[in-house]
């Protein structure tokens, strides 16, 4: 036990004295959270809108005010003819042009229907889609307010509810994603690199010619990174709750316990890599290409797995990140309990045991 603590302390010295790895360990989660939270967000806020109002009546005024007041749009310009629309988009100042026909209010009153046009800059299709959706929602809202006053025949009131994430906040998606990626990156890569470093520096040679058992070497290398990864998870969750206003719906204890399990999964992956390679570069390369890429693609964080061709869907099942991402979403976003994640937990547990067994079996107690 004394040996173990000496080893852990030594490992912390390594991390603390290597400024680069310290920055990666503490800085990376913070930077990723801030990036995804504020820079790389798919939410559309304060989009500039231009209005082309041929009616200029009470109804259009009300609607325009409502759009302007929403947090998603800012009315930037009022146009006077259709010819100007192209120019506005080319200048890139507005993302959406809202066009009201003449007699908007009259048509609405007398014929019970009216038309309007939304023109979006779809050079960025995602943003265009989102702005159109937001604008439509505001218009629907406006419409239903009007219809409250009088009964209209044959109208279907479509009421959509966005469950678990009514405001469609992207943080609900990326916080679990960032947690998954960070664990994969730090747990697997840092561990494998730190063990391979001992091989490269020749210190492994001395450690081997000592009474220390291989399992001790591996575990004492992994534990400090487990602690650091766990600190990172807590850091991410704190940022999620206090900076990004994303509440943890489910049990925090369950979430942390599952995170610890996933950390151990990534650490065992890191150990598996380290026993098979001899240079830090190769270890880094394998963790980045062999682990981070699949983690990114197959977690469901960036691309929905349901949309992938069947072979890729099948493949995604062997990627541990998919299961952890799933668990975090269920616990953190949906607030469900352990009974909903038993399957995922068992799969992660199985993977961990599998990786660890191979890593220990393949750990060489000699140099060859």
């Amino acid at each position: 036990m004394k040996i173990f603590f000496a080893f852990v302390r030594k490992e912390f010295w390594h991390v603390i004295r290597d400024k680069r790895s310290l920055i990666i360990l503490i800085g990376l989660p913070i930077v990723m959270m801030l990036l995804f939270g504020f820079a790389l967000t798919s939410e559309v806020k304060n989009s500039n809108v231009a209005i082309l109002d041929f009616a200029k009546d009470e109804a259009t005024q009300k609607l325009i005010t409502r759009i302007d007041e929403s947090e998603y749009f800012t009315v930037k310009k009022t146009l006077s003819s259709e010819n100007e629309i192209k120019g506005e988009f080319q200048k890139g100042e507005v993302r959406l042009v809202i066009i009201f026909p003449p007699n908007f209010q009259n048509d609405l009153r007398h014929e019970n229907k009216s038309q309007m046009r939304l023109v979006a800059d779809a050079s960025d299709p995602n943003t265009a889609n989102i702005t159109i959706n937001y604008a439509s929602a505001i218009i629907r809202d406006f419409q239903s307010d009007l219809s409250n006053n009088k009964k209209l025949p044959y109208t279907i009131d479509l009421e959509t509810r966005m469950l678990y994430n009514p405001q469609l906040k992207s943080s609900f998606n990326f916080v679990p994603g960032v947690m998954t990626l960070i664990m994969m990156l730090l747990g697997a890569m840092m561990t494998s690199v730190s063990i391979v470093k001992e091989k490269e520096m020749g210190t492994m040679e001395i450690l081997l010619v000592s009474p220390m058992k291989p399992i001790m070497v591996l575990i004492s290398k992994a534990v400090p990174y487990m602690v650091l990864c766990f600190i990172d998870i807590i850091l991410i969750l704190l940022m999620a709750v206090y900076i990004l206003d994303m509440p943890i719906q489910g049990s925090i204890v369950l979430l942390l316990a599952e995170s610890l399990l996933f950390i151990i999964t990534t650490l065992s992956l890191g150990l598996l890599i380290s026993v098979n390679v001899d240079s830090q570069q190769v270890a880094m390369f394998i963790s980045l290409v062999g682990l981070l890429m699949p983690a990114l693609i197959f977690s469901g964080f960036m691309f929905p797995i349901e949309n992938m061709p069947l072979p890729l869907q099948v493949m995604s099942n062997i990627v541990p990140t998919k299961w952890y991402y799933n668990i975090v979403k269920i616990v953190m976003v949906k607030g469900l309990g352990f009974s909903y994640i038993i399957k995922q937990t068992l799969i992660l547990l199985g993977m961990t045991v599998f990786f660890l067994t191979i890593a220990l079996k393949k750990f060489k107690i000699k140099l060859e």
């Binding site: 010295w13 390594h14 020749g202 040679e205 001395i206 010619v209 140099l367």
Partner: protein
């Protein structure tokens, strides 16, 4: 009693295509300071790794302090001290931290065995807070020796401990080995420096995986003695070429400003060579008979083994 016993060890690399050790056998007695002397690539490090249980030999048997290197791996790892050829301590840990760490790894404390390292440690103690990576070559080597000694090993393996170390530190280092020997520790040390051979009780000359000769330094030189001449002149290079072309020359090697020459006819051809060189009008020509040193002997043995 043999502390290290090596019997018919053969080791190849790259699936048998590179022969590193070729059926070597020798033994090191308990308490002996034994030198393994040979150039780079002779197989010294491979042998060290086999004896410290880091590598498996292809064939042959070896034991350290009575433990078989194959079967009693964990016993050997408890009782040997190993200092690899490459500086292998944690560069980002200080002297103190390295020493404490290795003491703990070997289940002991620095205090417990301080008497063993005291003499060496006091020399680096003023810098104990300094990171190992920032130490000079001589200090690194002292620290590495301290770390290899901290668990009071029965057998000490030092792989080229003096490579890259200044001459003063080298002498100091050998003085330390003498003192460790006096404590009864068996020491196997390798070096590419022939002049360090005189500090060992016995030496083995190794070349291309073969042991050329094993004995005390004096005996090895004595056993391989042939009349040797030192020939010196201002035009060094021309002289060497001419000597090598000379019909009676068996070997001629440059040693500093001198050429060491062995004649096929030994003593009998000396006058003829002298006449031959005098006729060439060298300025400052100087010819004298000398006693062979270990390097002369090594070259002779090396050439013989290649024949």
């Amino acid at each position: 009693m043999a502390s290290i016993l090596i019997e018919n060890i053969t080791k190849t690399y790259e699936k048998g295509t590179v022969l590193a050790l070729d059926n070597i056998s020798f033994e090191v007695k308990a308490g002996e300071l034994f030198g393994l002397i040979g150039p780079d690539g002779a197989g010294k490090t491979t042998l060290f790794r086999i004896l410290t249980t880091l590598l498996n030999a292809d064939s042959g048997k070896a034991s350290v302090a009575g433990f078989d290197v194959q079967k009693d791996l964990w016993d050997i790892r408890k009782i040997v001290g190993y200092m690899p050829g490459k500086f292998s301590l944690y560069q980002d840990l200080s002297i103190e931290e390295n020493l404490n760490f290795f003491a703990t790894v070997f289940n002991t404390t620095v205090e417990e065995n301080f008497h063993l390292i005291e003499e060496i440690y006091v020399q680096i103690e003023p810098f104990k807070k300094r990171l190992a990576g920032k130490l000079s070559g001589g200090m690194k080597q002292k620290l590495a020796l301290c770390c290899a000694l901290i668990h009071e090993p029965k057998v000490l393996f030092l792989d080229e401990p003096t490579t890259g170390v200044d001459p003063v530190s080298r002498t100091e280092f050998w003085d330390m080995l003498d003192r460790l020997k006096a404590r009864g520790i068996t020491i196997l040390v390798s070096t590419p420096y022939m002049d360090e051979a005189s500090r060992c009780d016995r030496i083995a000359l190794i070349q291309k995986g073969k042991i050329l000769e094993i004995d005390t330094l004096e005996k090895i030189i004595e056993n391989n003695k042939r009349p040797l001449y030192s020939v010196k002149a201002d035009e060094r290079y021309k002289l060497m070429l001419e000597l090598r072309d000379y019909a009676d020359t068996e070997t001629c090697f440059a040693f500093g400003s001198e050429n060491h020459v062995v004649l096929k006819s030994n003593d009998k051809g000396f006058d003829a060579m002298k006449d031959f060189l005098s006729s060439k009008n060298y300025s400052d020509l100087e010819i004298k008979k000398i006693e062979p040193n270990i390097e002369d002997t090594f070259i002779k043995l090396m050439l013989e083994s290649e024949k």
